[in-house]
């Protein structure tokens, strides 16, 4: 996940997104899936964000299993996020 957790006003949104990501991970792990998550502050690693061609934050990028998927926002609609990341059938 890429976010901005230190810029004016953005902290609350980033915290909400990270909380929702935790819930999402917990749900996936309950299903017996193994999940590796990395949270990256784009202010700390701007090159990485550029390499990933990030257009908006917070954004979660699912690398594996393929296909690559990304979801922008605070991830509050858990089901929609799972479907969007191709981790759940529509």
């Amino acid at each position: 996940m890429f976010c901005v957790s230190t810029s004016p006003g953005s902290t609350a949104t980033a915290e909400r997104a990270i909380d929702n990501l935790r819930r999402l991970v917990a749900e996936l792990e309950e299903d017996g899936r193994r999940v590796d998550v990395e949270v990256i502050d784009i202010l700390e690693r701007p090159q990485l964000a550029e390499d990933e061609r990030i257009l908006a934050t917070p954004v979660v990028i699912k690398k594996l299993p393929e296909p690559l998927r990304r979801i922008v926002g605070d991830l509050s609609e858990l089901d929609k996020v799972l479907i969007g990341l191709d981790l759940k059938e529509h």
Binding site: T13, P58, D74, G84
Partner: protein
């Protein structure tokens, strides 16, 4: 039919909000011209890029756009699904709210500092609705943050006519000059009326529009008490010697300028030492307090009554000649002589009168209040 397709296109293209159309894979299929500014890149470099799906709380949420020059631009995002040729596209509407976010952040940072100070802080919108207060606000006014927010400073009006007028005048000056500093009488939640020293300044947007008023205030009760202590005798509450001297100087100047006349009455308690010796100093103190009360009861509002020292009292009578002063002096003497003091019994006083300037001095009285009263201790003479 109107609006036709060209009209719709120009509606979208001229929007100041950014509008994106994302295909089901989250790739930008369309971006309106406003997107160039928000993303800081030409449209050609935006279309075909992967934005991603969008998931936000309720209808709208804040997301941040990394801009090559402006850093992370805060936007308010809304999205909706649009089916085109039966393919579900996502329309994303992004509104740049960075100015508001920065202003709120600045406000938040200043309030963190202002939370720590003991002066009250109140931030209002231009319509005077309270949007922020600090802990000292609650300490001074008694109103909690929840009780104050959403209300206006009307909450603290005293209801007194003269205070209403001061408040209206303050609003008038604030609107005309933009800021105001001064003292106002306000009411605490517990009903107590107090005076506050208040400074109100405006906060403007970048375009000059008024955004907030910031009011910083302190409770003047303590300073008023200090002032009271500095000018008043702690025991009797009368003016002290320094305060009387000040009034005396003013009255001398006034008299010299306008050729007016004023008078002084000085008196002391006969055998006061014996009262102290016999009944103790606490009783002596109470006698002095009762004498002060009786005297205040006899004098006029404009007269200045002071405890000159020990058991000596002095009354300054503006615009009063010696004859009139004599009438008042006699009233005070009789009033005290007829009073049975609860612990000390009957007490007499000796008085002296002076008229200023002194060329019309009344027969039988000193023309200055001298080092002591005229009548000797224990021999009060009829005036």
């Amino acid at each position: 039919m109107f609006p036709d397709e060209a009209a719709f296109r120009s509606l979208v293209e001229q929007s100041s909000d950014t509008i994106l159309l994302l295909d089901p894979a989250g790739t930008v299929a369309y971006a309106n011209p406003a997107a160039e500014q928000l993303f800081g890149r030409p449209l050609a470099n935006l279309i075909g890029e992967e934005f991603g799906g969008i998931s936000t709380a309720e209808e709208q949420s804040d997301i941040y756009i990394p801009h090559p020059q402006r850093g992370n631009v805060a936007t308010n995002a809304r999205s909706t699904t649009i089916r085109l040729d039966d393919i579900p596209y996502t329309a994303v509407y992004l509104r740049d709210i960075s100015e508001r976010v920065q202003a709120e952040e600045r406000l938040r940072q200043s309030s963190v500092a202002l939370d720590a100070i003991d002066q009250g802080l109140m931030i209002t919108r231009p319509d005077t609705t309270i949007v922020a207060v600090n802990p000292a606000f609650t300490t001074i006014t008694g109103y909690t943050e929840e009780e104050a927010l959403g209300h206006t400073p009307e909450l603290q009006r005293t209801g007194r006519q003269e205070d209403e007028e001061s408040f209206t005048e303050m609003r008038r000056i604030l609107e005309r000059e933009g800021h105001w500093t001064g003292a106002l009488w306000r009411r605490r939640k517990n009903g107590e009326i107090y005076q506050e020293w208040l400074s109100i300044s405006p906060v403007h947007r970048d375009n000059g529009d008024l955004m907030y008023y910031v009011a910083i205030f302190s409770d003047m009760t303590a300073i008023n008490q200090l002032r009271q202590l500095a000018h008043h005798d702690y025991l009797t509450g009368l003016f002290n010697r320094a305060a009387l001297q000040q009034h005396l100087d003013e009255e001398m100047r006034r008299t010299a300028r306008y050729g007016d006349v004023f008078s002084l009455i000085m008196f002391d308690l006969d055998h006061f030492k014996a009262v102290n010796d016999r009944h103790g100093h606490d009783t002596g103190d109470r006698v002095l307090q009762q004498v002060a009360e009786l005297t205040l009861d006899e004098v006029r509002d404009i007269d200045i009554t002071a405890r000159w020292g020990g058991e000596e009292f002095m009354i300054l009578l503006p615009a009063t000649d010696g004859d009139q002063a004599q009438v008042l002096a006699e009233r005070i003497r009789k009033r005290i002589a007829r009073t049975a003091f609860p612990e000390a019994g009957y007490i007499t006083i000796s008085l002296g009168i002076a008229e200023v300037p002194c060329w019309r001095k009344p027969a039988g009285y000193a023309h200055t209040p001298g080092p002591g009263p005229l009548q000797g201790q224990g021999n009060p003479q009829p005036l």
